[in-house]
Symmetry: C2
Subunit: 542 residues, 2 copies
């Protein structure tokens, strides 16, 4: 054995761009720039320029396995750089420009990046950081401004090369990408994606119950390419041969114009993006064009958002994942009994975080690591395993998973009998009161459903009797008034009585992380010495 | 390198059934039996019984890599046997019961099958063949009739086992399936599918531009599980977690009842199946229920069939493939510019054989092996390569592909600039006249468009001046008259003048192969001594 065989065909990401070039070569890749202009290329153009860039990297002395970094928003040249870097056997490191300078210095040094391709927008940051980035030998600016005497421009850099290049061969488990998580404790950790893991993730992503991408689709990710690979869309799109619209500008007006002008059918973004979009549309009467499928992830989508989008004929999928999971862990595609569900039941379903695509597997465990039932009631630490889940962080000494391959996500969730997963909290954010868990997320969601509430964050405050008790911090919508007593009564109708916050603080703004999420860590630091009596008096004053 | 890693997750077909059991356990698997009855199980039931069968195989002394054969129509027990055989590390060999006895003796001996699971329907055949099948030690009847004292029944065979079984582990390139092609020359050749090739094929198959299977889909393959794996559906369905309807009876009335009663949304079959279905519906006023997607393959679908189905709101995909390609090579999913096409242009598009999914690659070459342009005009030998294409036949001494991995399909085709492929002939059926090629298929399709023509076959007859000239053999529809002169005039409006057949012969029936295709080889033998003068006189008589 074997006495016969099927063909050897390594799972390399270069086959993605080869397929798109050969079978969907004329399908457009649109770049919408921050200055309002739009430029166009197609899969053939991206593939050709990626080969030229691979030649430029080799000419610059970059070797197989070397890290090539990007510091850029979404556009076709950034996409080209992905395939160019991986195509010559390099490892693409997408840097989040919102990281703090010390994090930026750390990750570039840790990654040992040899090349950085960046947007002119980030030139001041790059200039500031250069002294702290000793490993970088070559700086290339994607959109070098006229007359700028800094680094070489991308077009000029690849101009000397003809694209007559054969992609680097290699093992399918060779690394092709590197992305650092902006962890809330310790230094950022790098997830080293492999050709194989990336390809399998992309194949799963286009399937009907994940993104459902066909050749007719027009996809506009409203999530940066440096944020968990823009949820994998730049790798998945060439499989379908769909049109890709990449924008450096996420403002609602620009988005709506692109939806209409480019015929966008599929989009994906965090709740904040959709909050702004909905507000803009409500205000201006703009529309969403032919948009039909929206994936919302990053954090929980409020129920009202799901209802609003569905009322416009848009199928909404709630997704969950993380940098460590490439990122797709779950997506809320319609289940088998969808047609028999009422609209309310459908919204209930979509409000959960969805179900796993083929490949990944979930379980929940208690604090002792014992598996909990998938009954929709038990809530425990969420663990995941599968072909596109991290095994070991970059340069780590130890695996990030247990002996059975389970990666602990840091989320707390329930698994329902219908296969859907429901995040109830981050394990570090859960509020432990009297030996039971209070979900900070459910408290926040309940608060968000009250008129005038823009943002809400619940944290645990040390309490002599109960260990911890919840404090709710609320940001009001501009110009809105929020009655504390009314909010309290509203909450009382939504959560168990013992979950009700001991205090509500109205604040002007909440601290956010580099990826735009509320920083509970900063909030906890801010309220480290908080005592409940103060606020209760405040609430009582109403 | 590597200094980090994603998880090791071998591509084994057992992960398919594990996923379906865990995430879609309650989704139904319906068996429609030849006696008109229907029985039901679900993915959980199939998975459980497959584990019990794996235990039964081990108890019978079957070892990893051994071949386990089936001789059965489509039903849930057959499906169970697929996963049971592969699950214990065995190789599933699906035997086509329509093969001739000497072929049946040859392939079982060549495969060294150790176990045969069969339908009671084939018991007489099995009894006749037993003396010629010395390698088979264990016979199991899927549906043992009451009081029958022959071999053990499937239910009884697995009854002693509890399903507490862990699937065999192994390399992802281990074989999991074996299917013999009923070649027209020489002995049948075995294609040895691997876990990996089968899994990648299944992942591609559910994608929107192939079968488009979601959890909401209800799929009814009208193609036997012994015929190119029922086009891969039993492997693909568990990824989506869709409902599967398996029928041992393909009669139109039964099909229409199942479409309606089971809510079938996706189906697939050869043109003959749809010819009968359409005739039945036209006659009785039956309908197709909620059917929305139909894949037609095996041979070319007449244009009128595509138009009829489309007029009922059904999306039709023309597919092409072969046992050697797992089988999907191409599927005619809507292209990017679909919305802008007229209905006529859409039917034109669907009439071609479709385009490749991500993974496989096509090219056409001339008789010297030089690649021909993808211009929609050049026609040449069709070659294919990719992860689910054969490399080497079972027990063969040499590869079935050239040095670059190209497998010659034996088809003659054109590749269009839009990526679609159009079969123009089988390379051995093409009629070579005066140094040029005449497509026998195009002649036949033109003839099928004439009123009263049921079947048509064009073959080349030796000719002293032109090397070969076409003879067209025609079977009339029951009770229909076909005017030879009218048919000739009809053809003259459809094909080049020099393509027109030198003679038309009306026959009562045409010879068919074991897989239901017209046997051109038999036809050529029948007309080996044919001279044109005879027939021309006949045509002239009209």
């Amino acid at each position: 054995m074997p006495l016969g065989a099927m063909q050897h065909w390594p799972l390399r990401v270069t086959s993605l761009i080869d397929h798109a070039e050969r079978e969907h070569g004329g399908r457009e890749i649109v770049s919408a720039w921050a200055d309002g202009s739009v430029s166009r290329t197609d899969w053939r153009g991206v593939a050709h320029d990626a080969r030229r860039m691979a030649q430029a990297l080799e000419a610059a002395g970059v070797a197989k396995g070397d890290r090539v970094a990007t510091l850029a928003m979404n556009h076709a040249r950034h996409l080209t750089a992905w395939y160019g870097a991986c195509g010559m056997g390099g490892v693409l490191h997408t840097i989040n420009p919102r990281l703090f300078p010390d994090q930026l210095a750390y990750i570039v040094g840790h990654a040992e990046d040899r090349v950085l391709l960046y947007d002119a927008l980030f030139a001041p940051l790059v200039e500031r950081m250069k002294p702290h980035w000793p490993t970088i030998e070559t700086y290339v600016c994607f959109d070098l401004p006229e007359g700028w005497s800094g680094d070489v421009g991308f077009a000029e850099w690849i101009a000397a090369h003809d694209g007559d290049y054969v992609w680097a061969q290699g093992d399918e488990r060779d690394p092709c990408g590197l992305c650092y998580t902006s962890g809330t404790t310790g230094n950022p950790k790098g997830v080293l994606y492999e050709h194989r893991s990336t390809l399998l993730h992309a194949m799963a992503e286009i399937s009907p119950d994940v993104m459902g991408l066909s050749a007719r689709a027009v996809a506009l990710p409203i999530v940066p390419m440096f944020h968990a690979n823009a949820w994998g869309l730049p790798w998945a799109a060439p499989i379908a041969g769909c049109k890709l619209v990449l924008s450096a500008d996420y403002r609602p007006e620009r988005m709506c114009n692109l939806f209409r002008d480019e015929g966008v059918t599929h989009s994906a973004g965090v709740p904040t993006v959709w909050i702004e979009m909905i507000a803009y549309i409500e205000r201006t009467g703009a529309d969403l064009g032919p948009l039909k499928n929206v994936i919302i992830g990053g954090s929980a989508a409020p129920r009202a958002m799901i209802e609003w989008l569905r009322s416009r004929g848009i199928e909404v999928g709630h997704a969950w994942g993380m940098t460590e999971t490439s990122p797709i862990g779950t997506v809320g595609a319609p289940p088998a009994d969808w047609d028999g569900k009422s609209e309310g039941e459908r919204v209930d379903y979509v409000s959960r975080q969805g179900r796993v695509p083929f490949g990944v597997e979930l379980r929940i465990v208690d604090d002792e690591g014992l598996e909990l039932p998938r009954d929709g009631k038990a809530s425990g630490r969420l663990q995941i395993r599968g072909p596109w889940v991290v095994q070991r962080y970059f340069k780590a000494e130890e695996d990030a998973v247990d002996a059975d391959g389970w990666f602990d996500t840091g989320d707390v969730a329930a698994l329902h009998p219908d296969g859907t997963m429901q995040i109830t909290d981050r394990s570090k954010d859960v509020i432990k009161s009297g030996g039971e868990w209070i979900s900070s997320i459910e408290l926040e969601n309940a608060a968000l459903g009250f008129d005038g509430v823009l943002e809400a964050a619940a944290i645990g405050i040390a309490h002599p009797k109960w260990d911890e008790r919840p404090l709710l911090c609320v940001v009001r919508k501009p110009g809105a008034e929020v009655c504390p007593r009314g909010l309290r009564e509203h909450l009382a109708g939504q959560v168990a009585k013992w979950w009700l916050p001991d205090a509500i603080e109205f604040v002007d703004e909440l601290p956010h992380t580099a990826t735009g999420k509320i920083s509970k860590r900063t909030l906890r630091e801010r309220y480290a010495d908080y005592r409940f009596a103060d606020a209760e008096a405040m609430v009582g004053r109403d």
